[in-house]
């Protein structure tokens, strides 16, 4: 028969065991919680706004500049080449953001119209835009300054807002300098802004800054390639990057590789001209005009759809060596498929036939 001491042990022990069990159960029910903390402001990097991965291969273009007095340089964020905060009275502040758009062309009017729309003003027509703005020096070239004040008060305290925007073209890349904030504060800093523009130095590519696309963090999932295809012999599947459905490598001469990627965008994916010019930008070629586009393309019937092939030769900005790109644009299944092969000219020439076979074998899953 159990002694009283032993019974007491068992009771306490049982209670302890159950308490630990409740702890386990409670631990499994952890809920996310909101946290609040204060951190020091991020400092701009010594590399003067070098940008991380993204943009065409070879790194993003960037600026060397002198920060005007009273302006607070911000840590590089998003896709800005430079970013400043300009404090004003009370809690008012203005912001200067500098954004290059390599590989993009013909967006100057659209961008200025967007600035005007933000201030509640009507858009410029093509004719109006040609004569709008004032010419201002930007580094050793010129840009166009647009002074856009809101028609009505838009800010707290019944104040108007203002944008001083400058668009400058440099080596085929449009640069956008947008100083915006409370109208009086922006106007008061106009002279400093113009002085800043005179002294900037443009640099394309990056020196000493991080290189091409990240191998980490992990890629976004697109739910698996929504297509079936026959992969040609000699093509090895590699891990696709973000927004790419599939990618392959095949061996080229001298250890170089030929890369082929597959991606898909809904609708027309932006149109043939814009995409061809994006690729031309990646090979450091000037953008094609609408009139000359047709002569650059070859049309092939694939599964009853008209696929467009573009063949371009330029320079790989990463290596500085000649490179060739053959890309196919295939409208199918409610979207537009892009098959892009790039590498050394001779290697791409050899693999072209494989690319065509690959594109012909592709069938979107339904």
């Amino acid at each position: 028969m159990l002694t009283e001491t032993r019974k007491c042990w068992e009771t306490k022990g049982g209670a302890l065991a159950l308490a630990i069990g409740v702890l386990f159960l409670g631990g499994g029910c952890k809920k996310p919680e909101i946290s609040v903390y204060t951190i020091p402001k991020e400092q701009p990097s010594a590399a003067n706004a070098s940008m991380a991965a993204g943009g065409p291969a070879g790194g993003m273009p960037h600026l060397h500049y002198t920060t005007p007095e009273g302006w607070r340089e911000q840590a590089p964020s998003r896709m800005r080449a430079a970013s400043f905060l300009i404090p004003g009275e009370g809690s008012q502040q203005a912001e200067l953001a500098v954004v290059p758009l390599p590989g993009v062309s013909g967006v100057e009017r659209d961008s200025v119209n967007l600035w005007r729309k933000d201030q509640g003003l009507p858009e410029y027509s093509e004719e109006e835009f040609k004569s709008a703005g004032a010419v201002v020096p930007v580094s050793d070239r010129e840009g166009r300054l647009f002074d856009i004040e809101s028609a009505e008060a838009k800010l707290e305290g019944n104040l108007k807002s203002r944008t001083l925007g400058v668009v400058a073209l440099r080596d085929g890349t449009p640069w956008f300098f947008k100083l915006s904030g409370e109208s009086g504060l922006v106007k008061a800093n106009e002279a400093k802004f113009l002085e800043f523009l005179k002294k900037v130095e443009f640099h394309s590519g990056s020196h000493g800054a991080p290189g091409a696309a990240a191998s980490r963090p992990p890629a976004a999932s697109a739910g698996g390639p929504p297509s079936v295809w026959v992969v040609p012999d000699g093509w090895k599947a590699t891990t696709p990057g973000q927004m790419v459905l599939a990618s392959f490598q095949s061996a080229g001469a001298d250890g170089a590789a030929v890369e082929t990627t597959v991606s898909m965008l809904s609708g027309d994916g932006g149109g043939v001209l814009a995409n061809v010019n994006r690729w031309r930008g990646q090979l450091q070629l000037p953008p094609a005009q609408p009139g000359e586009l047709e002569s650059m393309l070859r049309r092939v019937d694939i599964h009853g759809h008209t696929a467009v092939f573009a063949d371009m030769e330029g320079v790989n900005p990463k290596t500085g060596k000649p490179a060739r790109m053959v890309a196919a644009i295939v409208p199918e299944g409610g979207g537009t498929w892009f098959y892009k092969m790039s590498g050394a000219a001779a290697d791409v020439e050899r693999e072209q036939a494989n690319l065509l076979r690959f594109v012909e074998s592709a069938h979107p899953k339904h």
Partner: protein, 399 residues
């Protein structure tokens, strides 16, 4: 003792319960392994092992029913069973020491795992050479950060875990001067362009298409949220679409590369809400863990075997800088030689092409010692049992 307590104790101390739980655990591992093929490791971990029940949800429905005990439930019952049986059969005898030591090791292992589950935090620090970081980021968790950027020297952050956005509804907090109304949240998304241009130009709107959750090991979910900011007096301060696609530099770079021809130059600008004289920036980003120190990447080395592309060694020479303790020293982190600092361990995790960006894996696990102690206890217990049996055998033979 009351009959009910008696019955409970009898149930929880029974060996039959142990066998049944172990059988269920085997089954759970088996079905979890099969499910992983389609659902991926992380979703299976969440639904099968980090839950009390495995649930079945009919297609196109909101309800689900439990169909199998999950890892938490089995672990809890096993632990209670082990402790209860241990105490019930406890006899302070020398020949039982081995058994009790083994059981103590197993209990420590289970409890240690619970603490690891509750308190372990894994994150990464991506640091280009020459730059420093005072925070690490989560691989898989996101947060909506409302950052008061008004002050010159510091920012005040209210970080709302994405888990709270999933259910929609309103989010309020004493540190927020307004409320956030979550109109839409998708755990995984892919950006795309609107069909038609906005206005007369060619710029299009950036939309986000919902995607199934990532299942591959190297994939991750990239969420999107549509949020309305409403002041306490009911005034609407704006409606914004937020996504990691815009807040994380390399993702924004990809969007720019693929779709930039059709997006305005500042498409990725973080929205700022002005309210009561202060500016609040909204960001949906990877969850951040700030440190009291910063780590500066002095030099990243990627050594290969001579004449080959086979990696030999990765190492990061870093500088630890901490103002409150006036600490400033250099450390070399390389494979199998992590830095243990501030309760965290910094491993050489990965790097980016170009060999100028190092990625450190940061692990905080307060109970990192428990598996070692548990294994030591089990080993000592087994050795004790073995030696006791051996001694007894030798004595009998001698006699």
């Amino acid at each position: 003792m009351s009959p009910i307590l008696n019955k409970l104790l009898k149930f929880f101390t029974s060996l039959r319960l142990t066998v049944v739980c172990l059988a269920f655990a085997l089954g759970l591992v088996f079905i979890g392994t099969l499910a992983q093929v389609k659902m991926g490791l992380y979703i299976v971990q969440e639904n099968y092992f980090q839950s009390f029940f495995v649930r079945w949800q009919p297609q196109n429905s909101d309800w689900s029913i439990p169909i199998y005990p999950g890892g938490y439930l089995l672990g809890t019952i096993l632990l209670v069973n082990l402790i209860a049986a241990h105490i019930q059969r406890f006899e302070l005898k020398r020949k039982k020491i081995g058994i009790f030591t083994i059981h103590a090791g197993l209990i420590l292992l289970l409890v240690g795992q619970l603490f690891t589950e509750l308190y372990q935090v894994e994150s990464f620090m991506r640091i280009p050479e020459g730059e420093s970081r005072n925070y690490s980021e989560s691989h898989r968790e996101s947060e909506l950060a409302v950052v008061d950027v008004t002050d010159e020297k510091s920012d005040r952050v209210v970080a709302i875990p994405a888990g709270l956005l999933r259910t929609g509804g309103e989010i309020t907090h004493e540190a927020l001067p307004f409320k956030l109304v979550v109109k839409r949240f998708n755990g995984n998304s892919l950006p795309e362009l609107s069909e038609a241009p906005e206005g007369s130009g060619r710029f299009r709107k950036l939309l986000y298409k919902e995607q199934p959750r990532a299942v591959k090991m190297n994939d991750r979910d990239i969420p999107v949220a549509e949020v309305e900011v409403v002041a306490k007096d009911g005034a609407k301060l704006g409606e914004f679409t937020l996504s990691n696609w815009l807040s994380e530099l390399h993702l924004a770079g990809l969007v720019r590369e693929k779709l930039g021809s059709f997006l305005p130059p500042d498409f990725d600008k973080a929205p700022v809400v002005s309210h009561q004289g202060r500016q609040y920036e909204l960001n949906l980003r990877s969850a951040r863990y700030y440190k009291p120190h910063k780590i500066k990447m002095l030099d990243f080395q990627h050594d290969k075997y001579i004449g080959t592309d086979i990696p030999k060694n990765f190492s990061s020479r870093v500088q630890i800088i901490r103002e409150d303790t006036r600490e400033d020293r250099e450390v070399l982190i390389y494979m199998n030689n992590p830095l243990r600092y501030g309760g965290e361990t910094y491993y050489q995790g990965s790097f980016e092409r170009g060999d100028v960006v190092s990625i450190l894996q940061v692990v905080r696990n307060p109970s990192w010692l428990t598996p070692y102690l548990a294994c030591a206890l089990v080993g000592i217990g087994l050795l004790t049992q073995f030696l006791q049996h051996l001694a007894g055998f030798v004595r009998k033979r001698a006699a």
